[in-house]
């Protein structure tokens, strides 16, 4: 029988607890905890729709057990936020540049973009092509996503409060 144990995760700075079988993935746990901003696309680590930030780096939450995430703060799309009313620069840029069509890949895409910007605040087009290589989008052809990340990068650098 599957062993079910409570597991407490830190999600977007808040402690949340769930009774998790030992084979429950982080993706399943997050959605069970109503974090519907995390999307499920393939459950095999092929598409990136379920990406979250752990230690500032994008991780496919379908490839990690919930129990393994204990003690590792998790950031979802909801956690990409700014104080006050302003939208996070990535979110604002994705909206303004028309980078969102069906939108299903977008939570993972923005997490991947943030992960890339954490390591490289001013990526070139080629670096963006490589940095987003693990996130599939079937609608946009990626062009406007590159435009959005470029715009967000300049605001994050210029604004100084990323």
């Amino acid at each position: 029988m599957t062993n079910i144990k409570p597991v407490t995760l830190e999600i977007n700075g808040r402690q949340e607890t769930i009774a998790a079988p030992n084979n429950m993935t982080l993706l399943e746990a997050l959605r069970e905890l109503n974090h519907f901003e995390v999307k499920c696309g393939c459950e095999k680590g092929d598409c990136g729709a379920c990406a979250v930030l752990i230690d500032g780096e994008a991780v496919d939450s379908c490839l990690m057990f919930a129990h393994s995430a204990v003690g590792q703060p998790v950031t979802t799309l909801d956690g990409l936020a700014r104080n006050g009313d302003d939208q996070h620069p990535l979110k604002k840029a994705f909206v303004e540049k028309g980078a969102i069509q069906c939108g299903y890949c977008i939570p993972g895409m923005m997490i991947a973009a943030q992960s890339m910007l954490n390591k490289n605040p001013n990526p070139s087009k080629q670096e963006m092509r490589e940095g987003l290589g693990g996130n599939l989008c079937r609608c946009t052809g990626y062009n406007k996503i590159f435009d959005a990340i470029e715009a967000a990068a300049s605001e994050l650098c210029g604004g100084g409060k990323g």
Partner: protein, 778 residues
């Protein structure tokens, strides 16, 4: 980027004094999606909800000797298991989406296998349980016995006498003929005849959101189904499949995580409805990615043979075209996809002597159905490669050869119908090639090639289907605007476009409009988001409703402002005197006057497409579609002659879309279509062996990633304002894809001096073609 147009001065959007139509506005759905607040169909839960899954047949052709779910049913936590015996009274129509009530005979498919398994993955049983884990455990406990039956996996084999029968008596599930002019004379008049056979592959839609839905039965015995779909009008077909009245099924759409034709047919709806009725509890079904490979029809592989006559001066004398499509195990939309291909097969060219014979053939492969481009894509892959082969044969430049043969406005297409809108193929090809510029220099093992492809793609459904669309537009007491339309928003901004149209006519900015859509019970039925028809049909319905409302508002405002009706305009939430904007009344005040006077502040309108009878089956002559889109794609590639690897260096798309409603959304369609077409040409292929899918993951079925996008891309958007849609719009959803794959193939052939006739054009095939061409020349 919007290119200046030197050769062909065109009317610009700005000249028409439109306030928001044509502008690159932020779509109304963008903000919610950016915040992760948008609820897709899979993001809903209900109290007491069950989780359902499907048991699928592990082989493609077999007899179900026995199925026994008694052990599985006894598992604690299992609420319901249905097998073929439980659904024996019903079939699911696979024919045209329910809107028209048209249906061919004997094309229905079984909901669950009763005795005959016809394709790998065909559903054997439905399982609903308290948790998904229990459902999975129960699925493994269902006992069944399959006896393999000889199957047939190649449509050309399936046509031979004595082949195993999959459907009907001869495996033919659709056929179309076109007869025009005198084909024998055409070949006599030709200086050269070019014969080639082009093959295309099975393709997957690969929307990121797998099929998903939830159903519950309410206090009025209405089966409510919230589902990711392109077509809410399926409620009628679903009602018939489950044996209830049409008004007892309600489809609530949600914003769809990609469709591309793959959510045009019914997916999980009937399963959910049956389980909800059986258990009287809410039931949710979430397809895994693996389910999705088996859960919806694929793009048809086609074999297209051309025999084309041409004069030394470059005039096509005639074409004989034979088309065979693999329909897979069930009919679904195959006959219509085939018709689109047959009609498009001569391309956007004047071919007066034409003979087309086409068949869609049942096999034990996965069934095939709608996919963006709907048969016209496969036709374009063939006709545009054939055009290059013809040009090469007579030693003429590819663009000049096309120029001598372009179909012009008012000339008859393959079916004899004369297109009334602008036909700007020539402008699009010229501008695309001009923007592509000179070839990049070759270096090392890299050879550079350029290719172009033109197309003709319909927008709007078949005119024999008598397509209609309804829309409701109203103004609230504070001057904000509400639009109600059944339209499903599959990611292209279908809803936002209607807000923009209503806002334009009522002078209300986009942020003060809202749309309620995609609910078969409470939003007026608008028809499907398929066939590049959504903007055309729902846009016209919205425009008709908003125009009537505008007229009433202006009439009342004129009285208030003391001027004649034609001196009043609406903008920025005000009614004002033209030329004297300081004399105005706010829309809020105006609506108040209307309310006091009993003037109706909303309007329900219906728009009808052109209606025709079906075309003549012997000649294929008649009207098939409302209208067509024309355009071109130009591509530059680098081919590594050591590895066969292809890099798309430059891409230019030029389309006459009639009129942009939202320019950014149009660019988005074009850029996304370009990527999808590159995948179609280079990397995507569902491989079936004896009907078994060999590539069921994104690590085996390769859609383009960010690394595969063209290094440079330009979209040239021409606006002839000649379309049948709102403000002269045509459509762009499908046209954005149609010319891309053949342009890539033509660029590769240009680079390596040899042609790969079988799609996709993989590195392996390129190296083989290079070897063969070297062997010939040395």
């Amino acid at each position: 980027m919007d290119m200046p147009n030197k050769k062909y001065p065109l009317p610009r959007t700005e000249e028409k004094h439109l306030h928001q139509v044509g502008k690159p506005l932020v779509r109304t759905d963008a903000r919610g999606k950016s915040e992760g607040k948008t609820r897709y169909a899979g993001d809903y839960v209900m109290p007491n909800m069950l989780h359902a899954i499907v048991l699928r047949a592990p082989m493609a052709s077999a007899t179900l000797k026995r199925i026994d779910a008694s052990r599985a049913r006894a598992l604690p936590g299992v609420a319901c298991i249905l097998t073929g015996d439980d659904t024996s009274a019903h079939d699911a129509a696979t024919d045209l989406p329910g809107q028209t009530g048209r249906q061919r005979l004997n094309t229905d498919n079984q909901i669950l296998v009763r005795t005959r398994v016809r394709y790998h993955g065909e559903p054997l049983a439905l399982i609903a349980a308290e948790t998904r884990a229990i459902a999975e455990k129960a699925r493994a406990m269902i006992e069944f016995e399959l006896e393999p039956l000889e199957g047939v996996y190649d449509p050309e084999e399936a046509l031979k006498p004595g082949a195993p029968i999959v459907q009907s008596h001869d495996n033919i599930v659709g056929s179309h003929k076109i007869r025009k002019g005198d084909i024998e004379k055409a070949f006599k008049d030709a200086d050269h005849i070019v014969e080639k056979t082009y093959r295309t592959q099975f393709i997957e839609h690969a929307f990121l959101e797998p099929e998903v839905g939830m159903a519950w039965v309410d206090e009025n015995d209405v089966v409510n189904i919230r589902v990711s779909t392109q077509v809410i009008e399926h409620f009628r077909t679903i009602a018939e499949a489950i044996g209830v009245a049409h008004n007892r099924v309600r489809i609530l759409g949600a914003l769809v995580g990609g469709g591309f034709g793959g959510k045009e047919d019914i997916t999980v709806e009937v399963y959910l409805a049956l389980l909800a009725l059986a258990t009287q509890r809410p039931v949710k079904m979430v397809y895994t990615r693996e389910d999705s490979w088996f859960g919806h029809g694929k793009r048809h592989p086609f074999v297209i043979k051309y025999r084309t006559g041409v004069t030394s001066e470059g005039k096509i004398t005639g074409s004989k075209i034979d088309i065979v499509a693999d329909a897979g195990a069930y009919v679904f939309l195959s006959p219509y996809v085939l018709l689109y291909c047959a009609l498009a097969s001569p391309g956007p060219y004047r071919v007066d002597n034409l003979q087309v014979d086409s068949v869609a053939v049942a096999t034990n492969n996965m069934f095939t159905s709608a996919f963006r481009g709907f048969g016209a894509c496969q036709a374009a892959i063939a006709h545009e490669q054939q055009m290059d082969e013809l040009a090469n044969t007579i030693g003429m430049d590819r663009v000049e050869f096309r120029r001598k043969n372009y179909l012009k406005k008012g000339e008859p297409i393959a079916t004899g119908f004369c297109v009334e809108s602008e036909v700007w193929t020539e402008q699009c090809v010229d501008q695309a090639m001009e923007a592509l510029g000179d070839k990049s220099p070759a270096r090392g093992p890299l050879r550079i090639g350029q290719g172009v492809a033109a197309y003709q793609q319909s927008y709007g459904r078949l005119t024999m289907m008598h397509d209609t669309s309804e829309c409701w537009v109203g103004i609230e007491m504070d001057g904000t605007v509400v639009v109600r339309s059944g339209v499903t928003d599959i990611g292209a901004g279908q809803g936002s476009a209607l807000c923009q149209i209503a806002g334009e006519l009522l002078g209300v900015p986009l942020e003060r409009t809202v749309i309620y859509n995609s609910d078969s019970a409470v939003t007026p039925l608008a028809g499907t988001s398929t066939a590049s028809r959504a903007l055309y049909m729902t846009g016209m319905a919205c425009k008709t409703a908003a125009s009537a409302l505008r007229e009433r508002m202006i009439k009342r405002a004129a009285k208030e402002l003391g001027v004649q009706i034609h001196h009043v305009d609406l903008a920025n939430s005000k009614a004002f005197v033209v030329g004297r904007t300081e004399e105005f009344i706010t829309l809020k005040e105006l609506v108040g006057h209307c309310a006091r006077d009993g003037i109706h502040r909303s309007e329900l309108a219906q728009f009808n497409a052109p209606f025709t009878d079906p075309i003549d089956p012997e000649t294929g002559q008649g009207r098939v579609h409302p209208d067509y889109v024309y355009g071109a794609q130009a591509i530059e590639v680098a081919v590594d002659t050591d590895t066969g690897e292809v890099t798309v260096l430059k891409s230019v798309a030029a389309h006459d879309i009639g009129q942009c409603i939202n320019r950014a959304a149009v660019e988005g369609q074009i850029e996304g279509g370009t990527a999808m077409g590159i995948g179609y040409a280079l990397s995507e292929e569902l491989i079936y062996k004896q009907g078994q899918l060999m590539t069921p993951s994104f690590s085996e079925y390769l859609i383009p990633t960010a690394e595969d996008t063209p290094l440079e891309h330009t979209s040239i958007i021409l606006e002839s304002r000649s379309g049948l849609g709102p403000f002269g719009a045509k459509g762009i959803g499908e046209p954005a894809l149609t010319p891309v794959a053949p342009a890539v193939a033509n660029a590769i052939a240009d680079a390596i001096g040899a042609r790969v006739l079988d799609f996709p054009v993989t590195p392996e095939k390129i190296l083989k073609a290079l070897e063969a061409s070297t062997a010939v020349t040395t």
